[in-house]
């Protein structure tokens, strides 16, 4: 029952956590990473149930993280939250194996909608 939140902005990580809580996922343990590289290590070490990642980050971007995960044969469910949402990005996300690409600003409702088929809510 663990969600890994990957974003280089701490303010954004707090916002994501709050939104998840409002969307009914407050019962999950939420852990954080500040870039793709850190996230990769954290995922290998602690197998979260879901990864919610930003796209544009220093060191290793979200899409690079996803590629690296799949190359390592780690099949953890993966979703993007990002403010840039071009058609090309959606394409790359889908090809990489992401379950969704949620545009910012999101609301608890859009977040819940994106997650409902993947994770069971737990308050």
């Amino acid at each position: 029952m663990k969600i890994l939140i990957v974003d280089d902005s701490k303010a954004m990580r707090i916002i994501v956590k709050r939104t998840l809580t409002s969307a009914g996922y407050g019962g999950y343990l939420m852990v954080e990473a500040t870039n793709g590289k850190e996230a990769l290590d954290a995922i290998k070490a602690s197998q979260p149930d879901f990864v919610l990642s930003d796209w544009n980050m220093p060191e290793m971007s979200g899409i690079e993280l996803l590629t690296a995960l799949r190359a390592n044969d780690i099949k953890v469910p993966f979703g993007f939250v990002t403010s840039e949402t071009t058609a090309e990005m959606r394409e790359r996300a889908k090809d990489g194996g992401a379950l969704f690409l949620l545009g910012k600003p999101f609301t608890p409702e859009t977040m819940g909608e994106a997650l409902k088929s993947i994770l069971t809510p737990a308050a």
Binding site: D8, S9, K10, A11, M12, I14, I15, K17, R18, L29, M30, V31, E32, A33, T34, E38, A42, N56, M57, P58, T82, S83, E84, K104, P105
Partner: protein, 717 residues
């Protein structure tokens, strides 16, 4: 703290951090436009702010950053290349973002300013067709150059929510650090006390325990001190931007190099040097570095180099600012200094080139012919100097005309705990900060009589050929004289404002690490004391402010000479009627008394009669590897009417004057005294070499006109 507040605070902190980095990235990018990593970092910073501001309901911030992001994404994708104009527009956008963040921080809302003009300009870059500015555009709100403080320096300790991924750092409230430092200070005092008690008691167990306590305290002190340290780069971050903006404004091309950005400095000191350094940078760009054309004409590279260097040395932090500009023309400084009356013509004649260049630090000095809006902000280099000296630092300037200037700033590592010399006067003890200490001199009774020239008005100590003014701590503190005066004289040689002087104390105890405690507000105005500390036995000792003591004793003068350290006001007697002047009192013949202004005297010397040699018509002595022409008072004033009092045996008393690198010695009868007196000068006819008479010490005394006398002396030389 409410939920939204926490996000907002975090957002402001991290955005400001990103923006500081951004300024640097932009400047680096101008030098190296192909740096994709920089472009990426810049884009990401703006992108993140835009993304978050959407959540916080900051629509104006979102609109502004969105416009910037549009431009940046094109730069990132290689569809647009950065021109200086685009960079300026983007930097203006960054300033706008800062302004909104500042408002958010102070008021909690983003305000009503919509930065429409900036947005229009950014949009015009993306789609040039839409350049026609809309009519409702608000007048351009000038964005203040971001000189303000980093707004979010004080953070609450973050409680970690849930289990977060390894976070190597914790933000700590500065007030907490200050409190810790204070407590460590108390611990140092308690330690000193225990050590003293242990030494008295002689108990082995207690001594052992106190030694351990000693070690641990020292380590703890060092550790806590380190937590207050910040890399100097955190202040320098803003400089590339400042230099860039300035050089664009002045039409110059300047590259800023920063070396040693990781050098750590106590944060309170960092705050104190921030503004002086900016001022120094401004000066270098504005006055130091030439325009590209002028540089090319001199055969220099068109781009000037400003190098900022920081390093630790000898327990101090050294900061150097070097430019390869035109340097300082000593002739211009000389002319300006005279024009503005900063020093007297007579004194400047005795100054070395280096001393003259350092006149730029003198109050009231500014070489800018026109006060530009860059350097001329109402503060001169004297303010820079004062600010740095206030924190126990020094600033020095060296320059090679035509080749560049180096400013060297030295500041202490910390101010809270300092090594100090403990001296006593009667039953009281005083601490003197070691930074001001030059040496200790102990004079036995016999030595004291020869080494101290006079002990009435202004006593002077002869030390290795230099004359140092002496100050009685007792006099400074208005303490009564003791019943029995000690035969031995203890002199602490101190440096105040580059000027050495001797402080006479009853005794010297030891050096000790002391914790500086500020004086209460009521006592803050007493400049003689810098603070107080608690000694090992639990008693309070006052810390002497060396500059304050020197000022009170009136031994500081504007000039930076080391040799002559006698009090003066630096102007001729005739303009100073009624003012206090230091005068050298001497005799000629049996009972003729003469006086001359002490500030015109270079040295007082004694020569054995046997050392006088004849060179042509002149008498000379070999003095400091040079030939010093001598001239007698009789030659200046005519034969002495009262007859000679010369015994033909005692050494010659000689007053040495120097001007323009040449010295001459005036042989006088006896040097009586140095007096500090308000004198009323009465003009006397036209007697050669005499400017007037006055009553000094109850006797009619002729005032020697040194200029006329010197003219004669120069002729003699």
């Amino acid at each position: 703290m409410s939920e939204i507040d926490e996000v907002l605070q975090e957002f402001i902190i991290e955005s400001n951090e990103n923006l500081d980095e951004l300024d640097r990235s932009f400047v680096a990018l101008e030098a190296n436009p192909g740096d994709q990593q920089r472009v990426g970092a810049i884009f990401r910073a703006i992108h993140t702010i835009k993304g978050t501001s959407g959540f916080l309901g900051c629509t104006r911030l979102e609109a502004l950053t969105h416009a910037g992001e549009e431009v940046l994404s094109r730069v990132r994708d290689g569809k647009l290349s950065l021109t200086p104009q685009i960079t300026t527009d983007l930097l203006t956008m960054v300033d706008g973002v800062r302004a909104i963040l500042r408002r958010l921080e102070t008021t909690g809302v983003e305000g009503t300013e919509d930065f429409a003009e900036q947005i229009v300009r950014l949009k015009a870059i993306v789609s040039p067709a839409a350049t026609a500015p809309t009519t409702h555009v608000a007048p351009a709100a000038p964005v203040a150059a971001s000189k303000d403080d980093h707004p979010a320096e004080v953070h609450a300790v973050e409680a970690h929510e849930g289990s977060s991924v390894v976070d190597g750092t914790v933000r700590v409230d500065v007030a907490l650090l200050d409190k810790l430092m204070n407590l460590v200070g108390e611990l140092v005092l308690a330690r000193n006390q225990i050590i003293q008690v242990g030494a008295i008691a002689g108990d082995a167990t207690l001594i052992g325990a106190s030694q351990r306590l000693n070690l641990i305290t020292s380590e703890l002190q060092e550790g806590v001190m380190k937590t207050r340290m910040r890399p100097i780069g955190s202040v320098w971050n803003k400089y590339p931007r400042i230099v860039r903006d300035l050089s664009v404004l002045c039409g110059k091309s300047v590259r800023l190099e920063m070396i040693g950005t990781e050098t750590e400095v106590d944060r309170s000191l960092l705050d104190a040097i921030k503004d002086p350094l900016v001022h120094m940078l401004r000066n270098s760009v504005d006055h130091g570095i030439e325009t590209p054309e002028a540089r090319a004409a001199k055969g220099k590279a068109p781009t000037g180099v400003l190098a900022l260097r920081a390093y630790h040395e000898g327990g101090k932090v050294n900061i150097e600012l070097t430019d390869d500009g035109q340097g300082i023309d000593p002739e211009r400084i000389r002319a300006k200094a005279l024009e503005r009356g900063v020093v007297s013509a007579e004194r400047i004649g005795r100054m070395t080139e280096r001393e003259i260049t350092n006149l730029v630090f003198a109050p009231g000095f500014s070489t800018a012919e026109t006060v530009s809006n860059i350097s001329g902000r109402g503060v001169g280099m004297d303010v820079v100097k004062t600010n740095i000296e206030r924190i126990g630092g020094t600033v020095e300037l060296s320059s090679r005309h035509g080749h560049g200037t180096t400013l060297k700033v030295k500041i202490p590592l910390t101010l809270a705990i300092i090594p100090a010399l403990v001296v006593h006067l009667g039953s009281e003890r005083y601490a003197i900060p070691q930074v001001n200490l030059l040496e200790l001199v102990r004079l036995e009774a016999a030595q004291a009589r020869t080494a101290i020239a006079d002990v009435h008005g202004t006593p002077v100590l002869r030390l290795r050929g230099d004359l140092l003014p002496l100050v009685h701590l007792r006099t400074v503190l208005d303490e009564p004289k003791p019943a029995v005066e000690s035969e031995v004289v203890n002199v602490v040689i101190l440096q105040a404002d580059d000027r050495p002087f001797g402080l006479i104390v009853d005794g010297v105890s030891d050096t000790e690490e002391i914790v500086v405690k500020p004086l209460s507000r009521e006592l803050k105005t007493v400049t003689t004391f810098a603070g107080a500390t608690i000694m090992g036995d639990g008693r309070v000792a006052l810390i002497l402010d060396v500059v304050g003591v020197a000022q009170r004793a009136n031994v500081l003068t504007e000039s930076r000479e080391r040799a002559v350290s006698l009090a003066s006001k630096g102007t001729g007697l005739d303009q100073q009627n009624g003012a206090k002047d230091a005068l050298l009192l001497l005799t000629r013949g049996a009972n003729e008394r003469l006086a001359l202004p002490l500030d015109q005297v270079s040295r007082l010397e004694e020569f054995a009669r046997g050392s006088v040699e004849q060179a042509g018509d002149n008498q000379v002595v070999q003095y400091r590897g040079e030939i010093l022409p001598l001239i007698s008072l009789d030659a200046v004033l005519g034969p002495c009417p009262t007859g000679a009092e010369d015994d033909g045996e005692s050494p010659l008393q000689v007053v040495v004057f120097s001007q323009g690198g040449r010295s001459v010695g005036l042989v006088v009868g006896r040097i009586l005294d140095i007096v500090q007196d308000s004198i009323v000068v009465k003009p006397t006819g036209k007697r050669h070499g005499v400017s007037g008479t006055a009553v000094i010490d109850g006797r009619v005394t002729q005032l020697l006109d040194v200029r006329t006398a010197l003219g004669d002396l120069n002729d003699a030389a």
